[in-house]
């Protein structure tokens, strides 16, 4: 089982930019492990949410043929904590991409106010294994993970977008 840390895509410009949202709810157990005084969304899971948003953007740019793996967090800064009842929005932009890897820049918004910056490095891991072999199947873009992208495409189709 893989944890998905975004609820859905709301914008997707292939090869350029993607925006996903996540609603933060009191029912999520991990919110209670950060700060005793008040349920709080862990910053690490916001980085993962951005990585999933940006990872699908990067994967789509190569037709989901590459195994796109988060390789490095270039920068992660947050101006404030996020609490239940708030909506996170992850905006990821491809800065550079080539056969081996990709760089993304990202902004985190809460209720449409920017509250953080997350810049990431992704590896197209088959191109960086120096002769080591990974499984052939694409274990990154599983059906479960791809359902996020497919439902966005389906919604756009239904809207005639």
């Amino acid at each position: 089982m893989r944890w998905i840390w975004i609820d859905r895509f709301v914008e997707f410009e292939p090869g350029k930019r993607a925006v996903a949202i996540k609603n933060v709810t009191l029912a999520e157990e991990h919110l209670h492990d950060v700060c005793a005084a008040r349920p709080t969304m862990p910053f690490s899971l916001m980085i993962e949410g951005m990585a999933q948003t940006a990872g699908i953007l990067v994967g789509q740019a190569r037709g989901f043929r590459e195994k796109v793996v988060l390789a490095k967090i270039r920068r992660a800064t947050f101006e404030r904590a996020v609490h239940p009842g708030e909506q996170l929005k992850y905006e990821a932009r491809i800065d550079q991409v080539d056969d081996a890897a990709a760089i993304t820049n990202g902004t985190v918004y809460v209720n449409d106010q920017p509250i953080g910056q997350i810049d990431l490095v992704f590896s197209h891991v088959d191109q960086n294994m120096r002769g080591l072999k990974l499984p052939e199947e694409n274990f990154v873009f599983t059906e479960q993970f791809m359902s996020l992208f497919k439902s966005f495409v389906a919604e756009q189709g239904a809207r005639g977008g």
Partner: protein
């Protein structure tokens, strides 16, 4: 348009400080990326992307930091580069200083070839056509 070697060094240093989280004064020309500055393999990808952007150049993968020689069984024997392997690596890295390395071409010492000076030489060659110093 050309750029002085000092300016190249200064811009390389700036990018290494950002990529590796080190201090300005740690980034001497003689510093090795892995040994002295703590770079891990994934940082090399990051550094190449940063340099491409900082200098508006294209760096073909494997040109600045070649690794195909080490993966070729004909070029490595008993944990050391064969004479052919050493010749091949020198050809692939005209921007690196082999003076120390060639005395004992142990594959574990290959990372010592990747110094700040190696990068500066490479960029200098790329934008000014300079040969390695």
């Amino acid at each position: 348009m050309g750029m002085s070697r000092d300016d190249i060094f200064s811009r390389v240093r700036e990018n290494l400080v950002d990529a590796l989280g080190v201090d300005d004064d740690e980034v001497a020309e003689s510093a090795t990326l892995t040994g002295d500055l703590g770079a891990e393999s994934i940082d090399f990808l990051d550094i190449v992307f940063r340099l491409e952007k900082a200098f508006s150049i294209k760096i073909p993968r494997g040109e600045l930091f070649p690794d195909d020689v080490l993966n070729n069984p004909d070029f490595v024997s008993g944990g050391k580069l064969t004479p052919q392997g050493l010749a091949q690596l020198k050809k692939a890295m005209p921007h690196a200083d082999f003076t120390e390395f060639q005395k004992d071409p142990d594959v574990n010492k290959v990372p010592n070839l990747f110094t700040v000076r190696t990068i500066v030489n490479y960029i200098d060659g790329k934008i000014n056509g300079a040969v390695a110093k």
